[in-house]
């Protein structure tokens, strides 16, 4: 039997060798820290501190603004300097709490749980919710919501998304090598909540050392397995990963739970472990600074709220002219205007490209070659969808399953006419979904 995977997908330049061998190092933030109140899917958090308040590391500074929302915690001790809109990675202004770091890192004190196996499901969910755990792979969906499916008895797979299929990123890779026991601990906690489920670590085969390491650590765990996956983008897409691990296919209208699955990223499972076993809220994560333009590509233990700029300086700045800075990976990340942007719970990387070829191409006519069709992991016809999107034909767009697009960008990557297929499709999708909400 070959490696597990999905149909479609692409093989972009990997770039992981730049930073994969660099052990995680701590970067203590210097200046102010910025905490956007919206760093998750759902309602923005509501501040519970006022300007002038002194806060401790680990103190809650904003509480969840609803069920689908998540609280935010200070990652440093210091004084609340302002609560004002700041620019975030996706480009818009978001109301944020700004804290002046006092450099003392005085912690509020965390109570570890002696034996979490005695906790009830409600207690575990409560701890996860109160610690501000969200999907840290990039989507930022509140984890306590994910862990409260309608039919908990139907959940038979807990999938740890260890694919890290985005090029350049090595944060999950370092985590699996440096703290695999935390990842496995997180998995154990989730498995405890779903007694019928099997814990699956889906790892791409370009991380053979992680596969071996985790296999070795779980050899006595009856309810955990490692599933090696073929290295292909977007292997870590939720629907693609579920399919690769279980051969179950879900569409846009379904949740992973409808296929009996719950999928959590590496950092999320570590955050679950920290929250439940150690009593620590989400304050830090691993973050990769890399790309051809950076002097010293590295992996950092990131204090959330630190500006990208500080990481860039710590990595020695640029050794070549940087043409594009990306928050996240090159396939789905956001291009940044400048580096004065705060890191958040979902920031996994800063990629600095010295050669931004993608911006230099001019789109030409579609020749109907079908490369986008072959690349699409959702088996759509992106060239048609982009055409419908550009000409505003919403009916046809939906008929050709445009709303099933997962926005992975594989079509744009492959397009020989250099068309911005994914961009057109994303825009149209947003419009149609907005129309539907209005109705």
């Amino acid at each position: 039997m070959g490696l597990m995977t999905f149909k479609g997908g692409v093989h972009p330049y990997d770039g992981k060798e730049l930073s994969k061998a660099k052990p995680v190092r701590k970067l203590l933030p210097k200046g102010e820290l910025v905490y956007p109140l919206s760093q998750h899917i759902g309602a923005p958090a509501t501040p519970v501190v006022n300007v002038g308040d002194y806060v401790l590391r680990g103190q809650k500074i904003a509480e969840a603004g609803g069920f689908v929302s998540s609280p935010i915690f200070a990652s440093v001790s210091g004084t609340v300097k302002a609560i004002e809109p700041r620019r975030v990675a996706i480009g818009n202004m978001v109301n944020s709490i700004i804290i002046e770091n006092d450099g003392a890192y005085t912690e509020i004190g965390f109570t570890a749980c002696e034996d979490y196996s005695k906790l009830s499901n409600e207690e575990i969910i409560g701890k996860i919710k109160d610690a501000g755990v969200v999907g840290m792979g990039g989507a930022g969906f509140p984890t306590h919501v994910k862990l409260s499916p309608k039919n908990p008895d139907d959940i038979d797979h807990i999938i740890a998304n260890c694919a890290e299929c985005e090029p350049y990123l090595t944060a999950d890779y370092r985590r699996m090598l440096e703290n695999p026991e935390k990842l496995i601990g997180g998995m154990k906690i989730v498995l405890q909540m779903f007694p019928e489920a099997l814990g699956v670590f889906g790892i791409e085969d370009n991380k053979q050392d992680c596969i071996d390491k985790i296999n070795n650590l779980i050899k006595d765990e009856k309810r955990m397995v490692v599933v090696p996956l073929r290295t292909k983008y977007p292997q870590g897409g939720e629907r693609q990963l579920i399919y690769a691990c279980t051969k179950r296919a879900i569409n846009a209208k379904m949740l992973p739970a409808d296929a009996g699955c719950i999928v959590d990223n590496v950092e999320t499972l570590v955050a679950i472990y920290n929250a439940v076993a150690l009593g620590m809220p989400v304050m830090n994560r691993i973050f990769t600074v890399t790309g051809g333009a950076v002097c010293e590509p590295r992996n950092y233990d990131m204090y959330m709220g630190t500006s990208f700029e500080e990481f860039l300086e710590e990595s020695g700045g640029f050794m070549k002219e940087c043409e594009k800075m990306i928050a996240g990976g090159p396939m789905m990340g956001f291009a940044l205007q400048d580096a004065k942007i705060p890191t958040t719970k979902t920031t996994s990387a800063l990629v600095c490209l010295d050669n931004d070829e993608a911006s230099k191409y001019t789109p030409s006519a579609c020749i109907n070659c079908g490369r986008c069709v072959d690349a699409c992991p959702e088996q759509l016809v992106p060239s048609k969808l982009a055409k419908f999107a550009d000409t505003g034909r919403k009916g046809e767009f939906e008929k050709w399953y445009g709303l099933e697009c997962v926005e992975c960008g594989s079509c744009t990557f492959m397009c020989p006419a250099r068309k911005h297929l994914a961009q057109s499709i994303k825009t149209m999708k947003k419009q149609i979904l907005a129309d539907k909400r209005k109705k």
Partner: protein, 315 residues
Amino acid sequence: MDKKFNVTSAPHDRGRMDTQKIMLCVLISLLPATFFGIYNFGYKAAIIIIVTILSCVISELLFNIIIKKENTIKDLSAVVTGLLLALNLPHTLPWWMAVLGGVFAIVVVKMLFGGLGQNFMNPALGARCFLLISFTSAMTSFSYDGITEATPLALLKEGEEVDPLKMLLGTEAGTIGETSVICLLIGAIFLILMGIIDIKIPAAYIVTFSIFILLFGGHGLDMTYLIEHLCGGGLILGAFFMATDYVTSPITPAGKIIFGIVLGILTGIFRLFGSNAEGVSYAIIIGNLLVPLIEKATIPRAFGITKVKEVSKDE
């Protein structure tokens, strides 16, 4: 740190293949058949090839200049059209007819419909059919080694004996590029290995056509007869290089198979029941017209959609 960086939508990385490289691959794949054509038919074939390509490229250049559009000849698609058209012409054709064919292919079939990607009919085949209808005798009189000779397929239709080995090698009468099945297959294999063409269309085409010939050819299970049909009349050239033209074939996977089946049936009908020995060109341009319908009928079901799509309630 005041410099602003590029801001564009994801993805921020692109694959290596572009339109020009694809066209270049198609040109390379046609080289064996082209050189064999020149070897087989002499310098006249070379003149026809050069004249036709120049006619196509210059037509596109002038058209773009006249309507003040961006110059598009760099994408090499006009060169491909020119070469394909030339390979579909007899080497004895007067050069000015070849020029006219090139102009027709580019101006009428391609550019008037909006240029690359917009034409609904294969430009080279459209032009060939135009020439066939306009200058029937010049387009259908073939000679080999200076002696006027019918194509093997025409002989076959008359019920005469033909040599399948010669058809495979290509040392016989025909259009410049259609005769050598071996050279064409070398090019086709190159295109498939390079991922330029999908095997679905030619496979469905050839299989359907074979079944049709076996059923209705009147020769029963005579394999030699079948091979003669497969090797003759530009079927291989058509199936691998013309029917697979991206622009004028369906983009949907199921559509490609249906398209191939349609071409197989049409070619079979034209060859067995028509007055012409041939049929590939007409089959493909008629197939081209059906592409929008085929695509609409074969919208691929998206990943994870299991049931027949439910009717949208809110519309």
